[in-house]
Structure formats: C-alpha cells, structure tokens
Symmetry: C2
Subunit: 159 residues, 2 copies
DNA sequence: CTTGACCTTGGATTCAACTCCAAGGTTATA
DNA sequence: TATAACCTTGGAGTTGAATCCAAGGTCAAG
C-alpha cells in the first residue's frame, strides 16, 4: 500500500501525473484512506508499470486505455485484436524510420558537399542547396578552391 | 506564382497552416498582390517542401526555423559553422533513428510473440509482456498451442 | 501545539502546431 | 451586378499530456 507520493517517487513520476491518470480513468487507486488520501495497492502499482512500459514503447494514453480495457476483459478479445493494435504502432514506427533515413541521407549529402573550412559561408554549398529551387547539391570546390580535402572527396553532383 | 489556396492544395496543407508559417517566420511569401493576397514563388514552394519533409521526420518548427535562418545571415558564418549546424542536426537524426529502432525492436518482439489468431486473449503474450515487471517476452505457444505458425517461428525466450 | 512535509480539490496554464471564427475585402464568372 | 469562391486580419479554440496553483486538510516529530 502506497500513498501517492510514495508511488510517484518509486516510479519517478509526479504526483500530479498520477492524479491525472486517476482523473482520466487510467489508474484509479484501489482505496482511499479515512481522510481521503489515495491508497495504491500492489495491483495498482502493477497497472502503473503496465502504463509506463506501454508509454515507453510509444503508445498514447488513448492506446493504453484501449490496451487496459482489453486487459480487463481479456476473454472477450482475440489475440488478433491485441496484435492489431501493436502492429499498427509498429507500422507507424517503421514509416518514421524510413522518413528519418531519407532525411539523414539529405543531411549527409549536405554535410559531405560542404568544405567545412573557415571560408565565408557566402558560397557555402549547404546554403546554396537550401536556397536552390532544385534539390541539386553542387560540388563546392568548383567555387572557392583549396586543397582537395576529405570533405569533398565524396562530393558528387546530384540532380 | 501561387496564391495561398493553390499552394495549400498542391501540398495538401491548410491555408491556415501556411498563414501560421508566415506569422511565425518559417515561410513568408515572396510577394503580395496589390490587394494584399499572399503570392508564393517557386522558391517559396521549395522552402515549403523542405519544411514538410523536415516536419515529417520529426523536426520541430523551431528546429526547422533554425536550419532555414542560417540562410539569412550567411556572410557572418563560416562554412565550418554551417556544416557544424548541419552535423548537429545529423547527429540528432541519427540518435532519433536509433531510438526508433530500439522502439521498433520492442514492438516487433511483442508482435512476434503473439500468435495473432482468433483465440481468446486470455493468454496473449503481448498483454503478458506488458504486464510483467521484466522485459521478458515468453514464447506464446507454450501456453495455448495450435499449429506452429509463422507468427511464432521467430519467437524466442528473451530474459 | 506548532512546524513542515504530506495530502485534497477544482481549475488554470503550458506547449506545439495547428485549426477555426467573424467580419470584411477581392475577383472570376453568369 | 450579383453570386460564389477566393482572400485578409486578429484572436480564440483544440489536442495531448501533463504541470502548476491556491486554499485548505492531515499527520508525525520536536
């Protein structure tokens, strides 16, 4: 049995957060003391762990509420239902990774195209690429040249 | 040259969003018509594409503003500075990818552990994994078994 | 018997990124 | 010339997930 502060401390959340979960039906303490204090049972703590784990994996509180309702009502749901929820999230994450990889490539290309030297950025390839109305990144040492460095080795014109 | 509605239509954003970007300095139309209508150039459209791509992979508008604003101040930056900013973002993106990959693995493991069939979720591995206070996911068909399916092929006990 | 750390409540605020609204001006078309 | 479909502005509302606040009750220690 924990009071709100104890539970909060133990799981490194704010008491406000627990009250928020209470108010929104995600985690209602099993008991109240005479004086109205929230008293959380071991089961409540378990439920909190469930919530925190699910949250860490990237479920929204709405998702979690859904998962919890399945949890309470297990026998009326099929595995497929539960797996469905997870798989949707998974697809989500995969899409995000793909986008990030695309963006990483862009940034990498920008970074690689820039000499990175002490020259004024006036003719910086990166800025030109950002300004330009094409997605081309031109090889920088056509502009202001200094010794062919490792910066520009993998520079390639890209249309 | 596009009016706000045209540009919005073309990129499937709301006109309100474009006005929002204008107000917040992310994307100010290059021109205004006599009557005050926003007129966007092809460069503006390019800038919008950049914003949307950056947004899609999870850059905040603040991040994006930072990336875009270096442009205004070019001559006060050295190539090294600009490259530095890009490289910071690159590291950012890489960290994000890593985090998401971790995330993905968790979800994948959850998904793989579940048979996904029409059986009652009573013994669903996903729920058990989320319930458990360890991060272990047990192989589901130790619980309720049906033919070894592709769902459980890559199921492995993980402690 | 008073301090100080805890707890209660309802309600307000935050933050990002929109999204909507009202009241009015502009423009292409019938 | 009138109608509809555009556009303008400032400002208010929305969402999710907290986080903070004020005013006050509770409880163990000194």
């Amino acid at each position: 049995m924990y009071r709100i502060g104890e539970l909060a401390n133990h799981y490194e959340v704010k008491t406000d957060t627990l009250r928020f979960y209470d108010k929104h039906g995600l985690l209602k303490p099993s008991f109240r003391s005479e004086s109205g204090y929230r008293i959380y049972s071991e089961d409540d703590a378990e439920r909190l762990r469930f919530i925190l784990r699910a949250k860490a994996i990237g479920f929204s509180l709405t998702d979690i509420a859904e998962l919890l309702s399945i949890e309470l009502d297990k026998s009326n749901w099929a595995c497929a239902d539960v797996k469905g929820v997870v798989d949707i999230k998974l697809a989500d994450v995969e899409a995000k990774i793909e986008e990030l990889n695309y963006f990483k490539t862009s940034l990498q290309r920008l970074s690689d195209a820039c000499c990175g030297g002490p020259e004024s950025a006036e003719h910086c390839s990166i800025l030109e690429a950002l300004e330009s109305n094409t997605s081309a990144i031109k090889c920088e040492n056509q502009k202001h040249q200094h010794e062919q460095s490792h910066y520009t080795k993998n520079c390639q014109t890209k249309g």
